[in-house]
C-alpha cells in the first residue's frame, strides 16, 4: 500500500478503530492521496459522514469534519455547500448509511445536482452493528438476522443514480488503491453530484465478498469505454457476472443547483445582516 505522507494524515499514534486488514484502510489512503495530489487546502475541505465503520473515515483524515447522524450525511452536505460554495464538500458513507437509512436523501440529492462527491464504502454488510444484511448484500448471505440468507434484490446504486440522471457515476475497488485514488480524483474534480461506489472488503462480517471474490468478480471498463451514454451504462450495471469498475458516466452539462438558485460566492456567514433598505421596504408593504 502506497503510504506517502500527506497533510491529511492525523497525528502519529491516532487510534484507528478499524479491524486489521479491513478495506477501509486502503480507501482512506486513496482518499488522502487524492486530496493531496489535487492540491486541495485542508482548511477548505469538509468531509461529511453518517454513522458506521465507513462513516468513521473523517475521524482519521485531517480536515474539517461533520460526522452527523446515521443516514443523514447528504442533507448536511447540502446545507454546508449552499451556505458556502467555496468549500470542497465530500461525503463518506457506508452502504447501509447511504442506501438504507439514507435512501431518500440519495434520491433527492441527485435530483438537485449540487457539487458534492459521494464516496460509498460498499462492503455489502452492516459492519459496525455486527453483520446484518445491508441493501447491497448479495442473495444467500446468512447473517444473525437473515438466518436463512438474504432474500431481497440487492440495491443497484449506480443504476438508480442513473435513472435519476446523475451526472457522474463510478465504481471502484478499495483493494486497488492507485486506481481508486484516480477515480476519486476525477469525482472530486467533477462539478456536480458525483458518486463513487467503492467495493470494500469487510474481513470480519462479509465472508462472501472477500478480497479474492472482488478480484475474481470485477473487471475494469475497457480503456476505450466512453462514459457518455446513459443507456449503455445502465446495461453494464445490470450485468451480474463480472462487475465492471471505472467511470460509467460523466456528463458536466447538467446545471449546478448552486447556479440555478443563484447563490453568490460570498459565504452566508458574511451576510447575516439584512439589507436595511430592503427591510424598510418590506415592512412598508404592510402599511
Amino acid at each position: 500500500m502506497n503510504k506517502t505522507a500527506t497533510p491529511f494524515d492525523m497525528p502519529q499514534g491516532t487510534d484507528v478503530a478499524w479491524c486489521p486488514g479491513c478495506g477501509n484502510h486502503m480507501l482512506l489512503q486513496a482518499m488522502k492521496s487524492a486530496l493531496h495530489e489535487l492540491g486541495i487546502d485542508r482548511n477548505n475541505v469538509v468531509i461529511v459522514s453518517g454513522i458506521g465503520q465507513a462513516a468513521k473515515s473523517p475521524q482519521y483524515l485531517n480536515a474539517n469534519m461533520f460526522n452527523g447522524l446515521h443516514g443523514r450525511s447528504l442533507p448536511a452536505a447540502l446545507g454546508i455547500k449552499l451556505s458556502n460554495r467555496n468549500l470542497v464538500v465530500i461525503v463518506e458513507s457506508g452502504d447501509g448509511d447511504m442506501y438504507g437509512e439514507g435512501g431518500n436523501h440519495f434520491l433527492h440529492a441527485i435530483r438537485r445536482n449540487f457539487d458534492v462527491t459521494v464516496i460509498v464504502h460498499n462492503n455489502m454488510v452492516y459492519g459496525l452493528t455486527k453483520g446484518q444484511a445491508s441493501p447491497t448484500s448479495q442473495r444467500g448471505m446468512a447473517t444473525p438476522v437473515q438466518v436463512n440468507g438474504v432474500m431481497l434484490e440487492p440495491f443497484n446504486p449506480l443504476a438508480v443514480a442513473l435513472a435519476l440522471n446523475v451526472p457522474f457515476a463510478a465504481r471502484a475497488y478499495a483493494g486497488d488503491v492507485e486506481r481508486t485514488k484516480s477515480i476519486i480524483m476525477q469525482a472530486i474534480t467533477f462539478k456536480g453530484f458525483s458518486i463513487v461506489d467503492v467495493f470494500q472488503p469487510c474481513v470480519v462480517f462479509n465472508k462472501l465478498n472477500t478480497y479474492q471474490w472482488f478480484r475474481e468478480n470485477t473487471t475494469y471498463l475497457p480503456e476505450n469505454y466512453k462514459p457518455d451514454n446513459r443507456g449503455a451504462a445502465l446495461e453494464l450495471l445490470f450485468q451480474t457476472e463480472k462487475l465492471p469498475l471505472g467511470i460509467f458516466y460523466s456528463n458536466e452539462k447538467r446545471d449546478l443547483y448552486e447556479d440555478l438558485i443563484n447563490i453568490g460566492t460570498t459565504p452566508l456567514y458574511q451576510h447575516d445582516q439584512p439589507d436595511e433598505n430592503a427591510f424598510q421596504h418590506m415592512i412598508d408593504a404592510f402599511l
Binding site: F66, L69, N84, Y269
Partner: protein, 566 residues
Amino acid sequence: MYRDISIVFSGAAGQGVKTITTALLHVLKKCGYNIFSCTEYMSRIRGGTNTTEIRITEKKRQAYVHHIDMLFALSPHSVEHLQKRISSNTFIFAEKERFGDQWATNFIDTPLSKFALETGSLVFSNIVAAGVAFGIFGIPIEIFTDYLHEQFAAKGDEIVAKNRAAAKLGYDFGKHIAADKGIMPLVNIATESPDTLLMDGSTALGIGAIAAGCNFISSYPMSPGTGLLTFLASRTKSFGIVVDQAEDEIAAINAGLGASYAGAKAIVTTSGGGFDLMQEGVSLAGMIETPLVIHIGQRPGPATGLPTRTEQGDLNLALHSGHGDFTKAIFSPGTLEELIETMQRAFNLAQEYQIPVFILTDQYLLDSISTIHRTKVQRLPIETFIIKTAPTYQRYAFSDNGISPRGIPGYGEGIVRVDSDEHDENGLITENFGVREQMVNKRLTRQLSLRGAALLPTLIGPVNQAKRVVIAWGSNHGVLEEALDILSDNTFAGLHFSQVYPLNPIVKSLCENKTLIVMENNATGQFADLITLETGKPIAHRILKFTGEPFSVEEVVDALKEIDHE
C-alpha cells in the same frame, strides 16, 4: 350602536371569503379602526366551510369571540356549521336563491349574484359583499373605491370601473338594509394611527426571522408551518436567503444543521407530525452544539389529526425532543409584537448558547390578522459569535460556562470538527468515561445562565394583589387579557408567557401564595405540569380546550366566573 362588532364571513373554500375579508381589513385599517381577524378552515381546497371572523373594536383586541353580530353566509352549509354561534341578535346576510329549503325567514336576502351579474360577471360577488358590509357600517364608500382602484389599476380602467360599480350596488343595498333593520352605523371608534402594519402571524414570524439575519431555511411543507417557508421564499432575492424545499423533515433539519455548521443563520419550520421526524436532528444539534431555530406551528394531533385547526399540544414534545440530556429554550409568542421579537431572540440565543431554540405557535395565531404599529416592530441587535479560528482551534474547548468559541470551516486556520459521537475537545470520537462526563456537564451547564436570562411573563392586571393568577402561553395572550378585562375582578390577574422554557426563577416568586389557574389548548395541561415542575407550585385549575378551535373570550370569562363561584 356597535362599539365592538364581530362580523363573520363563511362559505365554501374557493368562494372568496379571503378576497372579501382582505378587502375589508385593508379598508378598515386605513380608516384607523382597531381590527382583529381570525379564520378557521377545512382541510380541503374547494367546498366545505371556511369561516373568517373580523372584529372591529374600540379597545385593541386580539382574540376570537364566539358570538356573531353579523354573518355573511355564502353557503347553506355555513349557517349549519355556525349554528351554535348564531343568536337572535345575529343579522344573517345570505342569498335566498342559494339556500332553497334551508332559507329561514329571519335571513336578510342579499342578492350578491344578481348585483354581480348586473355589473358583468359573477366574479364580482365578493366585491358586492364587501360593499354591503361597508354600506351597513356606514363607512364612506370612497375609501373602499380608492382601495379598489389601487388593487385593480394595473388591470385597466374598465376593470376598475366594474369593481367600483359592484361595490356601489352592494354599498347602497347595505345602507338600505341598515336603515330598514335599524342597524346603527359603526360609531367612530377609529383610534388607531394609520401608521400601522396589517399582517398575519406567519408574516410577523417571517419579519422577525429576517430582522434576525436569517439566511437559510430548509423545510418540508406542513400546515400551519408552511406560511413561514413561503414568506421567506418570496423574499429570497431581497435578502439573499437560501431556501430549499427538502424531500422530508429529516433532510430539512439535517440540512439546517449543516448550514449552521458552515456559518448560516438557519431555521426550519414544520408542525407536530413533521417535528416528530426531526427529533434525532434536535438531539444532534444538542450534541454538536450547533445553533438552530425550529418553528413548530401546532395543530391538533395525534397523527394527522385536524390538519388545518389549532391546538397547543406540542409543548411536551418540544421540551423532551431528542434523546439524551442537553440544553434547549422554547419561546411561545402570542401577539405580532411578540412574534417579531421572540424570533429575533431565538436566533440570538441559539447563536450565543449554541443550542436548538424553539418557537411554538399554532394555526390560530399564524392565521390571525391584526395590526402592529410601525414603531413597535422591535429590532434587536444581531449577534453572531463566530470567531476566526487559530491553527490550534478546538471546537469543544472546555470553559467555565460550558460554551466554546464557535469556529466554522473555511474561516481561519483551524480545523472545525463536529461529531455526533461523544467526542473530546477536538471534536474527535472518544469513549473515555471522564471526558464523557465532562462533556455532558458542558452541554448542561449553560442551562443555568439561560434560565437567568429567560423572558419574564407579561403581567396582566394586579398580579401582586390578586389571589388568583391565570396563566396562559402562546396564542392565548389576547383572549386572557380581554377576559380579565371583561371580568374586571381584582381577585384575578394574569401572566402570559412568551417563553415557556426554561422559566426564569422569578416566576416562582410570582406564583407564591396564589391560586394558580392555567388555561391552554390541549387535553392534559402540559404547561400546567411544567409550571409545577419548575416552581414546585400545584395548579388549582386547568382550563383546557381541545376541539381544534381557539378559546373564545366568552368561554374564558365563563370558566373564570365558575372558578369564582367555587
